[in-house]
């Protein structure tokens, strides 16, 4: 049985981008995304250290990590209102490339910003279902909600994102 250290190291390398992307979609900016992703892995490590070997072996890493990420974002929101995107363009560009990339980048920031403006329950459902492309069953597991609830939250979230919010937000 390999040590929890090795398991964790592989987990970080394998899931870092997805966890970061989900953090970005949930918080709406790159700075918070990195903090969320880092917190997520720190908690994951603390939890893993207390798990028996077979639980670690049978762990479905992806939904587990995303459940932690969602909780990290929820806890942060409890303390302070989530900041929306810092769109001052001064963040270091980690994907250097032609100008089309810059445009894409701005669009991504814009979309993440709009996502961050959604009420949390719609945001979480939309991000996991459509950004992370989990199945409804997986989203339900990660959010610990019934599948039906997830479906309706995703639907409502997409409506809001498309600006179809003339009917009052029931919240």
């Amino acid at each position: 049985m390999e040590g929890v250290e090795r398991v964790f190291e592989r987990m970080v390398r394998e899931h870092q981008h997805r966890v970061y992307a989900v953090g970005f979609a949930l918080t709406g900016n790159r700075h918070d995304a990195e903090e969320v992703a880092q917190d997520t892995f720190l908690r994951a490590y603390r939890a893993l250290s207390t798990y028996p070997a077979e639980r670690i072996r049978d762990l479905k890493q992806s939904p587990w990590l995303h459940r932690i990420a969602v909780n990290v974002v929820r806890n942060r929101a409890r303390g302070a209102k989530p900041r929306t995107a810092e769109l001052n363009g001064s963040e270091p560009d980690d994907a250097p490339g032609p100008e089309t990339r810059t445009l894409q980048r701005a669009e991504m920031d814009d979309l993440a910003c709009r996502l961050a403006g959604l009420p949390p329950r719609y945001r979480e459902a939309v991000v996991l279902r459509h950004v992370h492309e989990m199945s409804y069953a997986e989203v339900a597991e990660a959010l610990e909600q019934p599948v039906g609830t997830v479906k309706s939250n995703v639907h409502r979230g997409l409506q809001l994102l498309r600006g179809e919010d003339h009917d009052r937000v029931v919240d």
Partner: protein, 254 residues
């Protein structure tokens, strides 16, 4: 409608910034950082993590140190600016003040015990391998002590050079061979040649007539004795027979 879903999907292909995984691993102590420091011993490469200093070596290049670390410790290692107080801690540690924390994870309990005991030997003094073995309550494991010290990942700071053979040979040294061991001991104020002469003559202890106490020759408590009161003793039995008792500071006998 599909445009939105495509955009959302694209959001999922975001990449974490460069070095993110390393930063996470460093944060939990599963990856180490290193830098090179100018010291009284010349350039020393030092690796550290959140638990403390994890390795040290005098290497010709960063690549050599990285290779050694990979073989002996195995965790990911990246160069980094040193924490603000590390240079001062290194200097203090090498001048005999103890401030450093060490990360000895990955070593066996026995190895850790050997290194912790060795860390107690004051600057300017030496002890035999058998002393370390006896002090950690494994009196028969003298050879194993030698092996553990040869594999000391943090030489200079955990002073394995202060553990010597009783027959006057200086003994092996992982931190640069017997010559380096001698040079470091000399720098610390040990009169190595005199010590070797005594040992070759079969002398292991220094007794003081007025106090009737015997010590290891380098024990700082023994240095205060006047020359005229000093007697040289060959072994524990004859020392006791002559009415001497072992020093409570350097503990030459159980």
């Amino acid at each position: 409608m599909t445009a939105l879903l495509t955009d959302l999907k694209r959001l999922g292909s975001m990449k974490a910034p460069d070095g993110f995984a390393e930063r996470v691993l460093i944060e939990v102590g599963l990856a180490d950082s290193y830098a090179v420091f100018e010291t009284v011993l010349g350039e020393v490469y030092v690796a550290w993590n959140r638990f403390g200093v994890s390795a040290a070596a005098r290497c010709a290049s960063a690549a050599e140190f990285e290779g050694m670390f990979k073989r002996e410790v195995g965790r990911p290692l990246t160069p980094a600016p040193a924490p603000a107080d590390l240079a001062a801690k290194i200097e203090d540690e090498l001048s005999g003040k103890r401030r450093m924390r060490f990360d000895l994870r990955g070593l066996t309990e026995f190895e850790q015990a050997v290194l912790r005991k060795t860390y107690e030997i004051p600057r300017g003094e030496v002890r035999p391998y058998g002393w370390v073995a006896r002090e950690i309550r494994r009196p028969a494991a003298v050879r194993a002590v030698g092996t553990a010290l040869a594999n000391n990942p943090i030489p200079y700071f955990i002073p394995c050079h202060r553990v010597v053979r009783t027959d006057g040979e200086i003994g092996n040294y992982g931190g640069g061979g017997p010559e380096a061991k001698k040079a470091i001991l000399t720098m610390e104020g040990v009169r190595v040649n005199r010590l070797q002469e005594l040992a070759r003559g079969g002398v292991r202890y220094q007794g003081v007539k007025t106090t009737r106490i015997y010590c290891y020759p380098t024990c700082h408590a023994a240095q205060r004795a006047l020359e005229k009161n000093v007697v040289w003793l060959h072994d524990e039995k004859s020392a006791r027979a002559a009415g001497y008792r072992p020093c409570k500071v350097c503990r030459p006998a159980a």
